[in-house]
């Protein structure tokens, strides 16, 4: 800090503590509910103090939800979404901020539009798209009458049946969720603030665009990438509807799906103690990611304030 301002610092701490409380109160009640027996958790009002079943409930939740398998799936999916989105977005943001080409703005707005129709609203056609990703090619083939052409040339009757099924595969889970513009927009905003002198200097030195991208732009973007990676990992981890409707193989279930199956619905025993224990368990990997990735914030700081 530049100077000392103890009163302001105290106010800041107070604000942050208030903010942290805002977060912790709901979580505390999740913890309390997770530490009770099923009879206790149905009491009205819910006790303020935790019970003694916490570990037992954690264990039950872990086994019932088969978290050992679903955690792995979730980690793969969340990492895949994070990495995939960051890579494609960095590249496209680089293209639309550093190159003058005719369809630049069109490209930007096309990408941007992908924010405006959540996957939940287009889930049926998306499912079709992933159940057979080759479908558009099939239409193309049908439209161009490739079959007739071939028949005309060779005299044989053929059927073209293209199939590229991604149901119950990781790419099928990941790719549709990469298709959105959040990250591209963020990097566009960031690249626009990068000093022009850097690019000019690189050009003077005869560096190619990719060289500039790799050696200068990327290192500058580290803290933004880290922030985005945290956000995207959590986003990917918490995906529910798409993985649920899309996977039909138990071994492909993600942690949130497993968790949702713990949440009691009508007619079932309201085992909120197990559900809340499960919720806390499912929070662990994301929390770990927040903790681990935070170390990289400072690295970004050092690089960008040079």
């Amino acid at each position: 800090m530049v100077e000392r301002a103890p009163i302001l610092d105290m106010i800041c701490h107070a604000i942050l503590i208030a903010g942290a409380m805002l977060v912790c109160v709901p979580l505390y009640f999740a913890f309390v509910a997770g530490s009770l027996t099923i009879a206790e958790v149905q009491k009205v009002p819910l006790p303020w103090l935790p019970g003694d079943q916490f570990l037992a409930n954690l264990q039950t939740a872990w086994v019932k939800a088969d978290f050992s398998r679903s955690f792995l799936n979730s980690i793969v999916v969340a990492l895949g979404i994070t990495a995939g989105k960051i890579v494609v977005s960095l590249l496209s943001a680089f293209a639309i901020t550093y190159f003058r080409f005719r369809y630049r703005m069109l490209a930007f707005w096309l990408i941007f539009m992908s924010l405006m129709l959540p996957i939940e609203v287009r889930i049926v056609p998306t499912f079709e798209a992933v159940a057979n990703a080759a479908l558009p090619l099939q239409w193309l083939a049908d439209m161009l009458h490739v079959v007739d052409l071939w028949k005309w040339i060779s005299g044989h009757d053929v059927t073209i049946a293209l199939e590229w099924n991604m149901v119950n595969t990781y790419p099928g889970l990941i790719l549709p969720l990469i298709a959105s513009a959040t990250a591209t927009f963020l990097f566009r905003q960031f690249f626009l603030t990068v000093p022009d002198e850097l690019c000019e200097a690189a050009r003077l030195d005869g560096a190619s665009p990719l060289r500039f991208f790799w050696s200068i732009l990327l290192p500058l973007s580290v803290s933004n990438i880290v922030a985005l990676a945290i956000i995207l990992f959590l986003f990917g981890w918490n995906q529910y509807l798409w993985p649920l409707l899309f996977t039909t193989d138990k071994d492909m279930a993600t942690a949130v799906i497993a968790l949702k199956n713990l949440i009691p619905r009508a007619d079932s025993e309201p085992a909120w103690n197990i559900a809340m224990s499960g919720a806390l368990l499912a929070m662990l990997p994301p929390t770990l990611v927040i903790l681990l990735l935070q170390r990289w914030f400072l690295k970004g700081l050092v690089d960008s304030s040079k």
């Binding site: 199939e163 590229w164 119950n168 099928g172 799906i257 007619d267």
Partner: protein, 445 residues
């Protein structure tokens, strides 16, 4: 002419590639049961798989009923539906006229299974059959019953809840006035089902024209001209006077009853599983009340789900499906399922078996639902409900009833609006489905 086919399998797995040594045919069943019910369902499937060595049923939890429905729609459109799917009662017409399902009774007949469909409990059979043939296999059937806290009633000087709404109202007000409990009753989360639809059936009120839709798609709602209006007004009055509480979101209304805070609760008989195990109050249950000027009351109707069979699979797989459905229909399976959940046995044979074994001596309240379902002969008002887009009309109605609860509308106005909205939805369904369903007639075969 020579025929050739080029198949480009670019990526992914082929579902057909079954392991060579395992001769078991595998079929999928997508369902909506979570928590303890999901575990019971898995046990059921394991029982079936262990009972023979030809077929394997794989139960896949696909979220709640809405999510299962969407999952099966998406999968069907992408040409990879499961063999079986569990759909809630409100989805009946959608599934029936979808053109995507195989009639259960046809399938079982064709595969040579002798399931006695005439033995199913009447409101169950009538709900799930079309033109006299069962279209889906009843699986988890429930009906609302009236739960109460014995101690509260005794403290207030009553033996048990009254049989009519009028007398019950006095009791609940007395319980509140004497300070026995904080509230007489809880608004159920599915009040439209228990307190409006089942209320209409029990009190012999028409819900829609054309025998509640059983006689055709041209049906129109009429509940704005029946006792339903005064029922809504009654609920509003109870709410205003604090005799009834809304649990709202964030916890289950059931907890207000099981914790001893509210004295009574109208809820599905399927709550037995939980209440028997976990409620620390001195509880009991009885029939739903009826209006004092309606005697005798009619049967209640069912809620829950049934197993639908999807089109588009090989005969071997339908062998497996038929074997499984036959297993589900067996009295032994029904009795077990009845006991470990709270759902009713779907057949009279299963009910008789449970009775013979003295099951209801230990669990007297479990018999209420069966008795309530099978009392009298179902008539046009109590056979069930056959409305298209029944979820959508229900949500419109729920929203209008909420407008009464928030004080924005009078009950009559709200029900008029609900009926108006509902009828528009019904006309849309009619427009889309006119002339469908002929393939279900037995004579079409």
């Amino acid at each position: 002419m020579k025929k050739m086919a080029f198949i480009a399998a670019l990526f992914g797995v082929l579902a057909l590639a079954a392991p060579a040594q395992a001769a078991r045919v595998e079929v999928q069943w997508w369902h909506a049961m979570s928590g303890v019910l999901g575990e019971r369902l898995n046990e059921l499937v394991e029982k079936f798989n262990a009972s023979q060595d030809k077929y394997t049923v794989v139960a896949v939890a696909k979220g709640n009923y809405d999510e299962v429905t969407n999952g099966v729609i998406a999968a069907y459109r992408a040409k990879r539906p499961p063999e079986m799917v569990q759909i809630a009662e409100r989805g009946y017409m959608t599934m029936l006229l979808s053109g995507a399902v195989v009639p259960v009774q046809e399938l079982l007949d064709q595969k040579g299974y002798k399931v006695d469909f005439s033995d199913f409990v009447k409101p169950v059979a009538s709900f799930w059959s079309y033109k006299g043939r069962m279209s889906a296999m009843p699986f988890n059937s429930s009906t609302p019953i009236f739960w109460y806290n014995k101690d509260h009633f005794q403290k207030a000087g009553f033996d048990k809840p009254a049989a009519t709404w009028q007398e019950l109202e006095k009791q609940l007000y007395a319980i509140k006035a004497k300070g026995v409990s904080e509230c007489g009753t809880v608004l159920p989360g599915d009040f439209f089902w228990s307190l409006l639809e089942n209320y209409s059936a029990i009190n012999n009120q028409p819900y829609g024209t054309l025998a509640n839709g059983f006689d055709g798609l041209g049906t129109e709602f009429v509940y704005n001209k029946t006792k339903v209006v005064s029922q809504v007004a009654r609920l509003k009055k109870w709410l205003d006077d604090g005799v009834m509480q809304i649990a709202g979101q964030g916890f289950s209304p059931e907890q207000l009853f099981t914790s001893g805070r509210c004295s009574t609760f109208v809820n599905s008989t399927a709550s037995h599983g939980n209440i028997e195990r976990n409620a620390k109050i001195n509880w009991s249950a009885t029939f739903l009340p009826h209006e004092s000027d309606i005697n005798p009351p009619l049967n209640s109707t069912i809620g829950g789900g049934a197993i639908w069979v999807m089109k588009g699979h090989t005969p071997e797989r339908y062998d497996a499906v038929a074997a499984f459905l036959d297993f589900v229909a067996q009295a032994e399976t029904q009795v077990w399922w009845h006991g470990v959940t709270g759902y009713v046995p779907a057949t009279n044979k299963a009910y008789a078996m449970a009775r013979e074994r003295g099951y209801y001596k230990d669990h007297p309240t479990r018999e209420i639902a069966v008795l309530q379902l099978s009392r009298g002969t179902p008539n046009d008002n109590s056979r069930g409900f056959r409305f298209g887009n029944f979820v959508q009309t229900m949500l419109a109605q729920r929203s209008e009833v909420e407008a009464v609860f928030t004080g924005q509308k009078q009950p009559q106005q709200a029900m008029d609006d609900a009926v108006k909205r509902g009828n528009e939805i019904l006309r849309q369904f009619e427009k889309l489905n006119a002339g469908k369903g002929t393939e279900w007639s037995p004579e079409a075969k």
